[in-house]
């Protein structure tokens, strides 16, 4: 069983989510603080586990479910898992408190908390899952909760469209990822991550590796908004700010990065991994940063910079060197802290002034001192200025860049430039400079709104100035988990004057310079907007709708004849295709044709000819009832043939069915409108061809069936056991009622349903007439 506590931790979010709406209804104001107790407790639990992890222990929990399929609800918390779990529950606590203030008075706050907790629990599930399928289920749950949270203001059409877009992109990616995970499970022989990670070489060598990798990457890239799937993240800013801060910057969008980090020991190290993950990561890093330059809305600005940060993380994992992995882990933590803080500040500013447009904001420091101080700290961390933790992260990234070569370092420096520009826009632009008129008079946000940013910015400062606090117990086990082997981690604020230090100093200065030339910059870059990815998404969606409309018009056009024709043609096509590549010709030829002719009595042949003639009469007859009469003849002749081959039961049933169907035909035709226009000759030819095809196929079937010999002849079994077992001499009825009773039960149920259906339709028709 392992640590039951692990399972309780993961599933507690779902339980409390059920309770959240009622709690909010009774204690509206204190709800935020009350519900925040859960994530707080989870954070403390994870912090308490850190020493055990530092010693290399791993927490596990497994509840077997379907052993044959390798399905089990199994969790595993190692360094990487706990780091993310800490991020999720820690920031979760602050977000829940923040949401209490931000959405105060909103009637749907209870539902908001419920879905926020569902998200938190499923995100914990993703971080701690050991079984691939459990990981996938939680993965899809995060997409689902993100869909509902983005579309929280369901009245606004743009929120709904953004939610749908996010859902479709991440959902489709998730589907591809499932295929990839199953392939991995197939190749490695087990669905458990712990087992899978030991099969690295087998996986890398297998022919399925490229396919599995690309499929998994599809899932990871769509979730972590990598190029070309990045467009859904800025649109997801329609969501309330706590959601943007929590899901779309700190935790959910990092699920893809987490997955890549988790699979690195198994899949990493190959050229495909380097170019796909590293390349796409670098491209997203640059694209995100570049697109952020021209944004004026505070949250979209932060969203694009998050895209760029995610690109950096993906690139670092792609590079795969132990330094790069160390840099990645440090940057994950640093980014979560400062980006989370900045988003919350953006929310507070929006809450206080009523606008998020950077060009209309300025000089808010005097009105919102605490928020301003937290903003400055967070912006400095983002820009990578010592003694903030962000500086250490950037230093490491610069060292990785320098180590790898001019191309990588120039890309990193460029994106760092963009980041500094954004940081200064937020810190300097919004809070300093001359104050401008804003829709709502700016006032200091309530305590619940500035608590989050202050804590996060404070942590950034604390860890920055004393990195050894986290390096041993948190960073080291995580890097070990990612690289698959223990790695020594020594973080320090000061490395002496190194090229990385000079570079970062220069970047900060140039970045601030860029800020002061922001208006010129925006005018220059405005025409170079690029939204190709979003257009393709829109095109794909319209194409899908058009396809659906076209297909429905063709297949469901209301004509019964058309449905019948489609069914017959499909059957003939499919079975015909299968039959044609069977050796049917020699099967047919070695049928005992001579014996068939010998014992065929002339009156049976007479009947056969009668059937053919009657069918022709039925087809040719101008009046519908004439055709019914001809069909009657066919029915009677077939019944006689049944009799001639010794099946009295069947003959009896067929005769009765024949008469009843004649009666039904008569009654139906009595109600049907007079067909003024009989079908055109072209239609009759087409119908004749279709009928001939179907008839030919059926004849082929019958002939082939005659040829098939059932080795252990079932009929002997029935013949022998009819009397002793089932006390009946009429084997046909015994089979129907006793041996194959279940089938008959099914058949009569179907009959019953069909009758009810017919009755309902007829009743409906009569009401329409009255």
């Amino acid at each position: 069983m392992g640590d039951l506590a692990l399972a309780v931790v993961v599933l507690s979010g779902f339980v409390v989510a059920l309770v959240a709406p009622t709690v909010t209804r009774h204690r509206h104001n204190a709800a935020g603080w009350l519900i925040a107790l859960l994530p707080l407790a989870l954070t403390l639990y994870f912090v308490a586990q850190l020493p055990r992890l530092a010693r290399g222990e791993v927490l596990t929990f497994a509840a077997p479910w379907v052993a044959e399929l390798g399905l089990a609800f199994s969790l595993r918390a190692d360094g990487l898992g706990v780091l993310f779990a800490l991020l999720i529950s820690g920031i979760g606590t602050l977000i829940v408190i923040y949401a209490g203030g931000y959405l105060h008075g909103n009637p749907f706050l209870g539902r908001f908390y419920a879905w926020l907790l569902v998200f938190m629990a499923s995100m914990l599930g993703v971080a701690l899952a050991d079984n691939l399928i459990v990981l996938f289920v939680f993965w899809e749950l995060t997409s689902l909760s993100s869909y509902i949270l983005i579309g929280f203001e369901h009245e606004s059409a743009s929120a709904r469209a953004a939610a749908l877009q996010a859902m479709l992109v991440t959902g489709a990616g998730g589907l591809a990822m499932l295929a990839g995970l199953l392939l991995l499970g197939q190749v490695s022989g087990s669905l458990e991550l712990s087992a899978l990670l030991t099969q690295g070489d087998a996986l890398r060598a297998s022919p399925l590796y490229p396919a599995a990798l690309l499929l998994v990457l599809l899932g990871a890239f769509s979730k972590s908004a990598q190029f070309p799937f990045h467009f859904w993240l800025p649109n997801a800013m329609q969501a309330p700010t706590p959601v943007s801060a929590y899901l779309h910057s700190a935790t959910m969008v990092k699920a893809g990065v987490y997955l890549l980090a988790r699979l690195n020991p198994a899949l990493g190290g190959t050229d495909l991994w380097l170019y796909a993950v590293g390349g796409i990561g670098a491209a997203t890093m640059l694209l995100g940063g570049y697109l952020a330059l021209t944004q004026t809305d505070l949250k979209r600005l932060l969203a694009y910079s998050t895209v760029s940060a995610l690109g950096t993380l993906t690139m670092l994992i792609g590079l795969g060197t132990s330094l790069a992995l160390k840099a990645m882990v440090v940057f994950v933590l640093a980014h979560a802290l400062y980006k989370g803080a900045l988003f919350l500040i953006a929310g507070a500013v929006d809450h206080a002034t009523g606008t998020r447009d950077v060009t209309q904001l300025g000089g808010l420091a005097r009105a919102m001192p605490i928020t301003a101080s937290a903003a400055v700290l967070a912006a400095l961390a983002m820009a990578g200025v010592p003694p903030l933790f962000g500086f250490i992260a950037k230093e490491l990234i610069y060292e990785v860049g320098l180590e790898l070569g001019v191309w990588w370092i120039s890309a990193i420096v460029a994106s760092a430039l963009f980041t500094v520009f954004i940081a200064s826009t937020i810190a300097l632009g919004v809070f300093f400079g001359q104050t401008r008129h804003t829709p709502k008079h700016a006032h200091e946000a309530p305590s619940s709104l500035w608590l989050g940013p202050v804590v996060l910015a404070g942590l950034s400062l604390l860890i920055g100035s004393a990195p050894e606090l986290v390096s041993a117990i948190l960073i080291a086990p995580t890097v070990a988990a990612i690289s698959g082997k223990p790695v020594a981690v020594k973080l320090a604020l000061w490395h002496g004057v190194t090229p990385a230090l000079l570079l970062s100093l220069a970047t900060v200065l140039v970045g601030i310079g860029l800020f002061f030339a922001r208006d010129a910059l925006r005018r220059l870059l405005a025409p170079l907007r690029w939204s190709g990815a979003e257009q393709t998404y829109a095109l794909a969606l319209d194409g899908l709708n058009a396809l659906a409309r076209g297909q429905t018009r063709v297949l469901q056009n209301g004509y019964l004849r058309r449905y019948l024709m489609t069914i017959v043609l499909a059957t003939v096509g499919l079975t015909g295709a299968v039959l044609l590549n069977q050796p049917i010709w020699n099967q047919l030829s070695n049928l005992p044709w001579e014996t068939i002719w010998q014992d065929a009595r002339f009156y049976e042949l007479g009947l056969a000819v009668l059937i053919v003639l009657a069918t022709i009469a039925a087809v040719v007859s101008p009046s519908r009832l004439g055709a019914v009469a001809a069909l009657g003849v066919v029915g009677y002749s077939i019944s006689l043939i049944f009799l001639a081959f010794g099946a009295p039961d069947l003959a009896m049933t067929q005769f009765t069915i024949e008469s009843l169907s004649v009666l039904l035909f008569v009654l139906v035709f009595y109600h049907l409108p007079r067909f003024t226009r009989l079908s055109t000759s072209r239609a009759r030819v087409r119908d004749a061809v279709i009928a001939a095809l179907a008839g030919g196929l059926m004849t082929l079937f019958v002939l082939l069936a005659v040829g098939v010999q059932f080795q252990p002849s079932i009929s002997d079994y029935f013949l022998e056991n009819a009397l002793p077992l089932a006390h009946g001499r009429n084997v046909v009825n015994v089979i129907l009622v006793d041996f194959r009773g279940l089938d008959t039960l099914g058949e009569i149920t179907v009959l019953g349903i069909a009758a009810l259906g017919a009755y309902a339709l007829l009743k409906l028709r009569r009401e329409k007439i009255e």
Partner: protein
């Protein structure tokens, strides 16, 4: 149709047909016949009656609503299947009870017969539901 000759003919034919249909159903286990044919013949009898008189009259001589017949038939078929389960044998295994009837000798009654009766009722119910619905106007 208000043809007197047909109505008198049907008044005698109906009991004959019903008797014959139960007879065909009854011996279904050993000679040709069974629930399905029996049900159809009974349905034909009632249809004939509905044509000779009208559906309202036909509904009167039928003890219960045809749709309920379907329900009863299915229920009967299911219960006869459950008999097997009652004797902790798999579902649908035939259970046979032999007992002697004074004057007729030993006869055997079994679950499959009830199942067959269920089939009889369902087939009758199905045919009549559709025929009466069609012939209603």
């Amino acid at each position: 149709m208000n043809s007197l000759i047909l109505q008198t003919a049907v008044r005698y034919l109906l009991p004959l047909l019903l008797l014959f249909s139960v007879f065909v159903f009854g011996r279904g286990h050993n000679e040709p016949g069974g629930g399905f044919v029996g049900g159809l013949i009974a349905a034909a009898a009632y249809a004939l009656y509905a044509i000779a008189y009208d559906t309202r009259a036909a509904r009167q001589i039928l003890p219960i609503e045809p749709r309920l017949l379907i329900g009863f038939g299915l229920l009967l078929a299911l219960c006869s299947g459950m008999l097997g389960v009652a004797n902790d044998r798999p579902f649908m295994t035939g259970q046979w009870y032999a007992f002697a009837l004074p004057g007729w000798g030993k006869i055997e009654l079994g679950a499959p017969l009830f199942f067959d009766a269920g089939v009889y009722l369902v087939v009758l119910g199905v045919s009549l539901t559709i025929i009466f619905a069609l012939a209603e106007e």
